[in-house]
Subunit: 233 residues, 2 copies
Amino acid sequence: MAGRAWPYPWPDSGDGHGRLDRAEIVRAALELLDADGVEQFSTRKLAARLGIKSPSLYWHVKGKEELFALVIDHVVGQCALPSRHSGWRQQLDVIGHGLRRAIIEHPATPQLLLGRPMFGPNGLRLADHVIGALREHGFTDKLASYGYIVFLNYVVGFASQETAFGKGTGQAGRLDQVKSFLAALPPEQYPDLTAVTGELLLGQFTHRFALGLDAILDRFERERDKAATVRSP
Amino acid sequence: MAGRAWPYPWPDSGDGHGRLDRAEIVRAALELLDADGVEQFSTRKLAARLGIKSPSLYWHVKGKEELFALVIDHVVGQCALPSRHSGWRQQLDVIGHGLRRAIIEHPATPQLLLGRPMFGPNGLRLADHVIGALREHGFTDKLASYGYIVFLNYVVGFASQETAFGKGTGQAGRLDQVKSFLAALPPEQYPDLTAVTGELLLGQFTHRFALGLDAILDRFERERDKAATVRSP
DNA sequence: ACATCCCCCTATCGTCGATAGGCGGAAACT
DNA sequence: AGTTTCCGCCTATCGACGATAGGGGGATGT
């Protein structure tokens, strides 16, 4: 039943003395989340997968909530931060695409990201990087903070909604479900929606994402320049 | 214990013969969700609030999942759709702001919206309206479907992230928690983030929302015109 | 040799979503 | 009127969940 039954002396994964460490637990939790979805996840299944009994988890991790926070930050950490020497726009572009990719590679994470600010080390580092990139290129503190919020909202929000459409949501049949549901809609009631259902599910999500992201960065730039000319005309 | 203990003949709320109907259940569920958050919600508490025992709910509603779907669509339905005679841009603006307001007035809804497409009647009507507004004003089917996805992602995503920052998340102390957490960050490690924390939590979210939304609509317009000139130069 | 601490165990609690099956009363039918 | 049907609730119960309490065994340091 447990995906991994081992003889008692554990192969020892990492730091050297413990059989388990938080990193391994987080990794297993993420695998389980990706496979079954956040709804089906349970600490008991996670324990079984790790080859231990559920209460033992509580020695390593305070509880489910802390575990989820660790998982989130692990995923956010998979988004590599670009060099600070490139332009702000390129930096935000790289971060945006990287973060989106990290999220949609783990379809359960949107539900975890929701309702909790990204306050793990990696999330904070990312925030600092984005805000820094803006401030270093002429954005006021106010505009930089606006920018960060809008930027992050867009990226996380888009990726979240994207997974809702089943682009690989653990359950492989999800996209087909959506497809057939839309195909069954009465055209006389939803004429415009039904007219474009083909386009809706066919296109490149990456392209749409880039479109909106570029639009937002464009506006950032314009706002920055407007503020600058107001201050020094 | 039950918020509403009643003598057996129920005051009769609505359609006339049943003591309870789905509308009343949905309304009570939403109240409970807003008060306690989605994590603390349970069908048993909902039943208690309605003055019945938990299994009785299953006569009215198939299960928790269906209940949540009904709640979502109820919230989406609180976003009034504008007249189709106004311009597409104004229509999307009205819908965007209306939908955001509906969502953030019920802080639990983002967690419900996540992972489920808005496929209730109100959600479909909204989708049809948005896509229709675009198609009626020179957008190709492809661009209209792109636009709908990006638009919806932005609105829902923004509102979702917004509630994560505790702008009234049931627990009133949430915003203060975030505030004090950010205030305690080491400036040498996160120099740019800590430099703008004041701005981060102070500003008008509505303004930031409008900023990004306008940016996206701007880009829509430009893409539409570009496609049009390509086709008929 | 002994004490200590790490890391996992068993036992158990209260709560959850959901199902099975019963029962009274109102409505509908004859 | 008497009978039947069905609505709308009930009690009893299930298995799974998150979490805590407290025990024990093996490695480590002195």
